[in-house]
Each structure stands twice: as C-alpha cells, then as structure tokens.
Amino acid sequence: MTDPVSPAPPPGAHLPDHPGFLWEDPEPRPAYDVVVVGGGGHGLATAYYLAKVHGITNVAVLEKGWLAGGNMARNTTIIRSNYLWDESSGIYEHSLKLWEGLEEDLGYPILFDQRGVLNLAHSLQDVRDSVRRVNANRLNGVDAEWLDPRGVKEVCPIVNTAPDVRYPVLGATYQPRAGIAKHDYVAWGYARAAHAMGVDLIQNCEVTGIETVGDRVTAVRTTRGRIAAGRVALCAAGHSSVLAEMVGLRLPLTSHPLQALVSELLEPVHPTVVMSNAVHVYVSQAHKGELVMGAGIDSYNGYGQRGSFHIIERQMSAALELFPIFARAHLLRTWAGIVDVSPDASPIVGLTPVEGLYLNCGWGTGGFKATPGVGDCFAHTIAHDKPHRFNEPFTLERFTTGALVDEHGAAAVAH
C-alpha cells in the first residue's frame, strides 16, 4: 500500500543537499609551499584563493579539530560592510562584493540572502554616530541609508518602535545589500573547491611549534609530525596569540567567549537582520525559520568555548523589549566561540617580523562577513610577500605609530 499524498513541505523548511563528495582526509605530506594554520572559514578561503588566483596549490590547511568547527560553526552569519572608516569599508566592501558572486564561484549553494541589516540607534548620540556612518558609507560607495522609526517599522514590522519603552528606537542605519549566509555551506564550499585544486585539508592536526632558521620560518611541528613549509599563514582566530607565542611574537589581542543561541523553527516573522549595540542584541531568522541571536561578549579572557548564562538572560530581556512577539519562542541551544579582540576592534592582517610568517587575526566579532575578502587579500599578501591594498592599513605596527582604525562604534558587540 502507498503513503498518503504528502503535502508540499513549508518553503525553506529544509536546505539544499550537500554534494555527494566533499573532500578526502589525507595524511600530511612532509613539506608544502604554504601551510595555513587553522581550517576555519578564513583558512579555507585563503587556501582557495592561493590556489585559484595565484596558482599555489602545494598547500596544506591544518585544523586541530574538524574543519570549520570553530567560530565558523558558531557565528550568527551576519554579512555587511557598513563600517565607519575608509580602511574598514574598503576590506569589508571588497568582501561583500565577493559574497555577491560566491555561489557561482564556488559552485555551492551558500544561501547568501541579501535581506538587509538594520543597526538601531537608541540615544541622540547613537543617532549622530549612525548618521555619520551612513554618510561615510555613501561617500565610500557602500549602500547605506538612515531610517527614522517609521522607516524601521516598514523594513521590519515586528520591531517595537513605541516611544515609551526604556530605550526607544530613534532610528536605524540600513544596508540593503547586507544579509546572511549558511556558514557550513560556505566553509564546505571553500573546502571542497580548495581540495579539488589540490589543497590538502588535514584535520585533527594541531600545531605544537613553529620552526625558524634565523628569522625565517621553515616548518611547523604538529600532533601528526613535522611539516616543512616555505610559508606559514596563521588563521587561528581565538588561538592566534598562542600560535604567535611559538615564535616569540606578542600580539595586542585578548581572547573572549562570545555566545550565540538559536530558537526552534518558526514561520517567517523577521524579514531582515537587526542589530543593536546599545542593548547588545543581534538577531535574524535563518533559512529554516529558526531565530539566530548573538549575545554580548564576556569581559574576561577565555578559551573555554563557554560563556556566562547571565549574558544570555540580559540579551533576552533586551531582545524582548525590541521584539515583544518573541516572548514564547523557545531557546533550543546556546553555544560560544572564542573571539580575538584587538584594541581598536579592527583586524591585524599582514606580514610579521618573521620572514615567511603571515598573520590574520583580531577580527573579534567581524570574522565571518570578512571571509571572502580577507581570504583573497591574505592569499595575495602571502603570494607576493606584501599586503594587498585592502589589508595594508591593518598592520601590527599601527599600535606603535598610533594609526589605529577604531571601529568600536561599528563592531557588532562593543568590546
């Protein structure tokens, strides 16, 4: 006997299938031209662009756990380029443009959905800062508008714009081209494509030491043996300081837990992405219908991939002030990543005092959105041993000269 006729599944309730083959799990070879340390989004993207743009395929990506199992698997997938300073909008906008072509580029359904992002303003100074950022964005060629509360309501009808709440919404910046993507699909798309071009993706391979001769890097020591390397590129996010320490390189970074959470699958209610620095909320409704929220950053240094629950509770009360209808949504799962935070809330991408050692870190909460952009720029930096114009401002030296790129205002979470 046959099944009853199945009604069509709700739209978006399930995601496109992954391909039947992704990558192999090879044994590490004794030597590579380039060893990328860290198999997260940035590491995989760097390897991909090294192979695709620069023809450098004798590359290994070393991952101490499972591919893209760190922040790549733990972030809230918000993609935008509406940062304040020229330097930042340069690299983030470069990244956004790459996002816009990435699905075809990788031949992988990354589900990049340009549903726009609202950054809410709750005080008169928020408003000044927001308008300032919108004007800077426009002159930098980044799409941005300032919306009054009515405009906010039009973009996202469920936001509470009542004037009598504790911290009323006074308006918001809006970047229509911003959006979200599906993080696993992005990472696996890069991984599969990089692997297809000959890159070795080596998992369960933790780097335990970095060997140098004179001031040139020569190899990495790993839990799976010594691997000689012409060049070594660090893409280890929260663990960057630990790796840099191996060559006596000290970084102006602190690693902190950053928590996120997800609800059950819900019928569509939230058409865009809403962020609010002032009350530490950022929320979107992902493709399957779950609400994905980021919480505040824990103040203390931590590598535990575990945060404090009162941060979640605080974030929930703020979220419900903004979205009263979320009251009976359910918290299904919480988790934390380790973000490496720099003093000016901007990344450090470029050369190091050690020849052949390249640094990509300090992205704080901004790493996911930068994945294609920094992958491209970092690959260029490694291939030419000089920075790409978009990462040139993000040197380690800036902390000595004072040429900081202070993005605290634009970072998702005020560090």
């Binding site: 663990h239 300081s241 630990v242 320490e245 000290r250 970084l251 102006p252 970074l253 602190t254 690693s255 103040s299 203390y300 240094n301 931590g302 590598y303 535990g304 575990r306 404090s308 629950f309 009162h310 490496d340 003093p343 902390f399 000595t400 000269t401």
Partner: protein
Amino acid sequence: MQLIPCPWCGPREEAEFHYGGQAHVAYPEDPGALTDQEWARFVFFRDNPCGPFAERWSHSAGCRRWFNAVRDTRTYELLSVYRVGEPRPDASERDEVVS
C-alpha cells in the same frame, strides 16, 4: 554564573565584578624614556595565554577593591586569588586542570 572569591567579601557572583585584564603590568617609571615600541607594549600588548593567567579583578558592586587572581582561561577555574602587591602564587601544579 561563576563565583569569584573576593579576598574580603568571599565568593560572589561574577556579575558583581569588573574585569581588569593582565595583572603585574606596572606603569613605567619614566614613560618619557621609552621608545615608541616600548610604550606601545605597555599601552596595547597583553599576555593572552590558554591556561593559567594572572589577572586583575575589581569587586565593583561590592567592596570596590581591586585584587589579583590566577584563573585557568580554559576552564575559567580560579586557581588562587591574592591581594594587590602580593606576588603571584605558583599555579604550576594546577596547570593540568581538565578543560
């Protein structure tokens, strides 16, 4: 919600405390005598170890005293607390806390 043992008030919830980052970073005797590099190290560069870390806390919602603690940044376990001016206790025997 972790408990942090204030040397004076005893264990209190972490929400009562303010984090102060790395401990034992002295303000330079004569900043004017430092090179830009040396000054930048004081201003911006801090240790960021994965493991025991000597750091500063202030019981900001309590007795408002600053104190130091050695905490394992993998487990967040406080291995010891001590008052400002006291030397960092040797936490090495506690280094193998499971994470």
